[in-house]
């Protein structure tokens, strides 16, 4: 019996146990503490919530507590005496024709990220958007979404968005701003725009390009700089200018990733994930093989069949050795190079080398050379000309120099945050102070905006007209799905229109007029069709230029750090990106794929590096690079390369909003330039301080039972049902519960561990659909995060270099659910279709159901987590799902609101529900199509066919719960001989 110390008032919560690597632990482990089975760790694991999480840490004595409870119990009986307050019905004055209250409408628009677009369908209820889905007709989305697209809807309703025009310290008006701009126009007509400076993010918008050309015609001497903090590196040496590789993974049998997190990062992530997953779905058919070399673990590395961890300079030398081995046919000294070169040669024309977006130019040039030599160009990869800018641009260093020279009398900053992105060494703050008139256009009055004379609130993409190109050149339109929440908000095209049009035009007119000229005249109703589909109709995607044969000299990069130096590498964060989403609470609380961290960024290091530095997880170290220093907590990540530290950008915001301010540290301070992704680390010194890090990797643990079934492709081919046979105890035949015949529908789900990449899109989609609250770092620390679907990440093997596996876990909707029999008030009951219903209004908060659940999928509202103070956040809520108050249990419902909606539609039409008609939120978001929902009473349904596969197994099936959600075992494809 576990001896727990008595409840007492807690001043501080226990820190995660220190790591002691003693002996090998379980086969699959979620953290180093679990692997080492250290004595501190085991009690931590046995409780569903970390010790004292369910304690009320308040200095109240038990006696007083009981007195108060007795009194409130007596009074509670009387509260039911109050009648419902009188409700009002407020209809329209003039109902808009297409809105039927109670029926959602879907509109197509485009989400833009780092300058490229991904199409979305937005569900709107009574004129306000509530959910984002992918657009199946858009080539960059193909019906799927990533975490940024799903979370973007919360950004629309962010209470911290700027709402008014500000001049200096005063609130100003649209008229005053227009007058001011008028004065600036007059000034710049004198100097032909020599003092007009424009700083934006990357943009591929055709309308904006057209407007910039007109602006350039009017003010020929204007300076325009566009930069992205997370711009990918491209090799200038190929084709003489930036060449954009476009991959076709459906043709690739061997994929080599040179530190390319192509499954998660970049404008083509959804397309590549879909194509990659297609070739991993069926082990009996074509199955690809993924080699990854990387420094910091990524989800692409987690999916790899062979993974090598190397620090950034070693990645470059590895690539050079591989290029030499392939080009000259030499064996190469290392067995890895030999093996990889061999495999690539055997699959000439069916392999692909993908160079990471954050690798230096030399790696991109070498990757091109390799692809060329292996004959991959034209089949698995084509290189197309990168988008040309519409008017000449200035480089960022030149731009800053010009500002410092007092060359600018008007500076307009839109979609860029240089004060935050650039390290203080650039002196941008100084440079800005020398500008006579500065204007900032942005969603938030952030670090840069607050230093500008004028701040104009920017409109969110869901409230603005515009257009943008996808990574493959397909243009698509942006249409607003709601009136701008704040009347003063404008978009960049509207601000430019103030400069070039008289009278200035609104977004709709600007975009419409541009496309009236550009749309193919022979496509009937082309404008309406483009808006409806989300892709511009009648325009073929940008034609690909033929790839000439170019021989590339591989020049060594300029400053390759000494091999013994500690290196630092920067990456955009997997949830807050380059910082633009830092105020998005869903993203801040999203457990990162590999570390399962929330609400913080860390300096990730390997176990060996930690030992040599003498630090452990949570110790704060001072990192020094490029003349700047920053304090960062350390995180020991199994699988990280030795000799390097990886940090993520996007944190350490100071002026963004309540959610972002003060969270994490700004790693961007250490970057020598916005193009620097790895550099030498001058110093890393432990400061002696510690920081508690809220990671969810231990939460809701299912205690070391063999939950992941993995087999190699070779083993699968000899014995396909190995996964089922590997189950520890086969389910017993006897059952205490009487059998039940599910007559009409029997809902079930199948999750394919083979195709799931762990991208987290399903987690945010579920949060968005089901009104799941955000709880904050303190509560996450106690294990109280509320995500209904969690992605468990398991390591397998040695702690220095383990394999990594993902397993999404939702409520299993067990046919013999342990939670149903223990509820004293009947708040969780079984439906005639197999769903485990959660009835919020009956729940009294006993939490016995959660106690009894072996999968630990139930979430309890310990406090009033749902937000009642910010009126805009109420607009995002899905009206078909209850917003839960405190004291109520909740869990995945298989999106029962979607099931009911589909059933009602089918019943009205007197037909059965078709397979594929009900798509749960997680299923819709998944780019890998890993989640399939359907009716197992229909043997032809997709889910029935998946469950009939030999790889199908249920989680903890020996407990005889008969889970309706089952998994398909993961199959890996390591090469046979190394």
């Amino acid at each position: 019996m576990l001896r727990l110390s008595p409840l007492s008032s807690m001043k501080s919560l226990p820190l995660p146990p220190q790591v002691q690597i003693d002996a090998g632990g379980p086969r699959f482990w979620k953290s180093l503490e679990e692997w080492s089975q250290s004595p501190d760790f085991l009690p931590y694991l046995h409780r569903e919530f970390p010790e004292y999480a369910s304690a009320w840490d308040n200095g109240m004595s038990r006696r007083r507590f009981l007195k108060l409870m007795a009194a409130s119990f007596a009074l509670a009986g009387l509260t039911s005496c109050s009648r419902q307050p009188q409700e009002k019905i407020v209809p329209y004055v003039r109902r808009p024709e297409e809105i039927i209250p109670g029926k959602p409408l879907y509109y197509a628009t485009t989400f833009s990220h780092r300058g490229y677009g991904k199409g979305v369908l937005v569900r709107t209820e009574m004129g306000r958007p509530t959910k984002i889905e992918g657009n199946p007709d858009h080539p960059a989305s193909l019906g799927a979404t990533d975490v940024f697209m799903q979370a973007s809807i919360l950004g629309l309703y962010d209470p911290d968005r700027s709402q008014t025009i500000r001049q200096g310290n005063d609130i100003s008006t649209r008229d005053a701003f227009t007058q001011f701009v008028g004065a600036r126009i007059e000034a710049h007509e004198q100097d032909q725009g020599a003092g007009l400076f424009l700083l934006t993010g990357k943009t591929t918008s055709p309308t904006l390009a057209d407007q910039l050309q007109r602006l350039h015609e009017r003010f020929p001497k204007l300076s325009w700089c566009s930069y992205e903090p997370a711009a990918p590196v491209r090799a200038q040496s190929i084709l003489g200018h930036d060449a954009e590789p476009v991959y076709d993974l459906s043709k690739a049998d061997i994929i080599v990733s040179l530190d390319a997190d192509f499954l998660l990062d970049g404008p083509a992530n959804l397309v590549l994930t879909k194509a990659f997953s297609k070739k991993r779905r069926d082990p009996a058919a074509d199955f690809n093989r993924l080699y990854v070399i990387e420094s910091a673990p990524s989800i692409t590395g987690a999916k790899a069949d062979v993974r090598w961890r190397r620090k950034p300079s070693e990645v470059i030398t590895f690539t050079q050795q591989l290029a030499a081995a392939i080009a000259q046919g030499v064996a190469g000294d290392s067995p890895e190079i030999r093996q990889l070169a061999n495999d690539l040669q055997q699959h000439r024309g069916r392999g692909v080398i993908i160079a990471g977006d954050y690798q230096p130019e030399v790696v991109h040039a070498l990757a091109f050379q390799l692809n060329q030599t292996l004959g991959n160009i034209g089949s698995t990869v084509t290189y197309q000309e990168a988008q040309q800018t519409p008017i000449p641009t200035t480089s960022l260093p030149d731009f800053v120099t010009a500002l410092k020279r007092r060359a600018a009398s008007t500076l307009l900053i839109a979609g860029a945050n240089p004060i935050y992105d650039l390290s203080p060494a650039w002196g941008f703050s100084n440079a800005m102070a020398r500008v006579t008139h500065s204007i900032h256009l942005g969603l938030y009055d952030d670090e840069t905006g607050s230093r500008c004379h004028w701040h104009v609130p920017g409109s969110h993409y869901l409230e603005a007209w515009g257009d943008i190109l996808a990574i493959d050149g397909t243009p698509s339109l942006l249409q607003p799905v709601i009136e701008p929440l704040y009347p003063d908000a404008v978009s960049l095209v509207e601000v430019i229109s103030l400069l070039v049009d008289l009278p200035p035009k609104k977004g709709y007119e600007i975009v419409r007029e541009f496309w009236q000229r550009s749309l193919a005249a022979d496509v009937p109703a082309a404008w309406e069709l483009s808006l409806n589909k989300g892709v511009v109709a009648g325009l073929s995607p940008q034609a690909l230029s033929p790839t000439p044969v170019v021989s590339v000299r591989d020049a060594p990069p300029e400053d390759l750090p000494n091999s013994s130096d500690l290196e630092i590498l920067f990456r955009p964060d997997t949830a807050v990106d380059d910082g633009r989403f830092a105020n998005n609470a869903w993203l801040q609380e999203l457990p990162r794929p590999l570390t399962k961290l929330t609400w913080d960024n860390v300096a990730m290091i390997s176990l060996a590096t930690a030992k040599s530095m003498g630090v452990t997880t949570g110790d704060v170290v001072r990192l020094e690079a490029a003349g700047q220093s920053v304090d960062a907590p350390v995180w020991i990540q199994p699988g990280h390369a030795d000799g390097c530290v990886s940090v993520t950008l996007g944190y350490g915001r100071s002026q963004l909003g309540e959610v972002a301010n003060g969270v994490g540290f700004n790693a961007g301070l250490l970057r020598s330039s916005v193009a620097a992704w790895s550099q030498a680390l001058t110093r890393a010194q432990a400061t002696g301080a510690r920081l508690e890090l809220a990671s969810t990797q231990h939460h809701f643990s299912m205690e070391g039972r063999d939950l992941i079934q993995i087999e190699t492709l070779a083993d699968y081919k000899t014995d396909p049902s190995q996964a089922q046979e590997n189950q520890p105890n086969p389910p017993p035949e006897e059952n205490l519960y009487p059998p039940f015949a599910y007559k009409d529908y029997a809902w079930a789900m199948s999750i394919d561990l083979n195709t799931c990449v762990g991208c987290n899109a399903c987690v945010v989609a579920c949060q968005s659909e089901n009104n799941i609250p955000v709880v904050g770092k303190d509560q996450v620390f106690k294990g109280r995060e509320m995500h209904w679907i969690r992605i468990d990440r398991y390591f397998e093997g040695e702690p220095e270099d383990p394999a990594m596996h993902f397993q999404p876990v939702t409520c299993m909707q067990c046919e013999d659910a342990p939670c149903e029999v223990v509820c004293p008030v009947g708040a969780t009951v079984h439906t005639s279709e197999g769903l485990n219903d959660m009835v919020y209004n009956r729940c009294v908060g006993t939490r016995y159901c959660s106690n009894n659940c072996p999968y630990k999928v139930r979430r309890f509202n310990f406090l009033e987590y749902s937000d009642a103070t910010h009126p805009t956040l109420a607009l995002q809520k899905n009206p078909d799902v209850t917003v839960r108050s405190r004291g109520v249990m909740e869990k995945c419902t298989y999106c029962v609101q979607r099931i009911e909606s589909a059933r009602i539609d089918a019943q009205k039409e007197m037909r059965p529900i078709r397979d594929g008609e009900i798509v749960t939120a997680c299923q819709a978001a998944c780019p890998a199509d890993a989640i399939v929902f359907g009716n197992i009473n229909d043997p032809a349904s997709r889910v029935s066919r998946l469950k009939a596969l030999p790889r199908n197994y249920g989680l903890l099936a020996d407990l005889n719960t008969h889970p309706r959600t089952t998994y398909l075992a993961k199959v890996t494809n390591p090469p046979t001989a190394i």
Partner: protein, 217 residues
């Protein structure tokens, strides 16, 4: 020692104990009755409205179909309250200067909606869908009573969960031919088999009607 209490206190003690018992039982029974009374359920209680709209006149005397105003009753979960423009389609010509209709004209002119007091109200955790009921043959008057005889609208049935379940468990008596859904004076046929036939014909999933998630999400 002398007795503190004289023997007569025996009687008083018994009366008091009995009284407490009666009080508890009676009190509980009173609360039970109160919960089923119009004080709680609002059955038959007319509510003041910004405009004293008479269903008796419009639906009864004039014979306007329910759907003219409650337009989405067969397509959406929400039956739909008429917008001011619907009222003005007639009242811009008929009774266009009547003082009683002043709030309607003002709402239309100022573009401010009319705030009606809700008569048939469900708690927020009930997700009721009108369209499925209409499409399966549950008539308006089955739940809302003789609306065509209400000069001011009141709630005709208590609409408690038990009342809903009484039909959900046994829908047959409350079904009608689809053409009679909007007919106010329709009565249940004597023969129970008619209802049973309709339930089967219309593919009513009776098992699911008593699942919690049919109404609570």
């Amino acid at each position: 020692m002398a007795q503190l209490f004289p023997p007569s206190v025996d009687l008083y003690a018994k009366i008091v104990i009995l009284g407490i018992g009666v009080f508890l039982v009676g009190g509980t029974y009173s609360f039970y009755l109160l919960n089923r009374s119009p004080y709680w359920t609002n059955v038959g209680v007319t509510l003041d409205q910004p405009v004293p709209f008479s269903h008796q006149h419009h639906a009864g005397e004039l014979g306007i179909d329910c759907r003219f105003c409650h337009a989405s009753v067969a397509t959406s979960s929400y039956a739909g309250m008429p917008d001011t423009q619907t009222c003005m389609t007639c009242h811009s010509q008929i009774w266009k200067d009547a003082p009683m209709l002043e709030p309607v004209r003002r709402s239309y002119a100022e573009n401010k909606p009319i705030k009606w007091n809700r008569v048939n109200e469900m708690p927020g955790y009930v997700y009721f869908n009108h369209s499925i009921h209409i499409n399966k043959g549950v008539g308006c008057s089955s739940c809302h009573g003789r609306v065509d005889e209400m000069p001011i609208t009141w709630k005709a049935t208590d609409m408690t969960m038990g009342w809903c379940l009484s039909c959900h468990r046994h829908p047959e008596p409350n079904l009608r031919p689809l053409s009679a859904v909007y007919q106010m004076d329709w009565t249940t046929p004597k023969d129970p088999h008619t209802g049973q036939t309709w339930a089967v014909e219309r593919n009513i999933q009776k098992d699911h009607l008593t699942d919690c998630s049919a109404c609570h999400r």
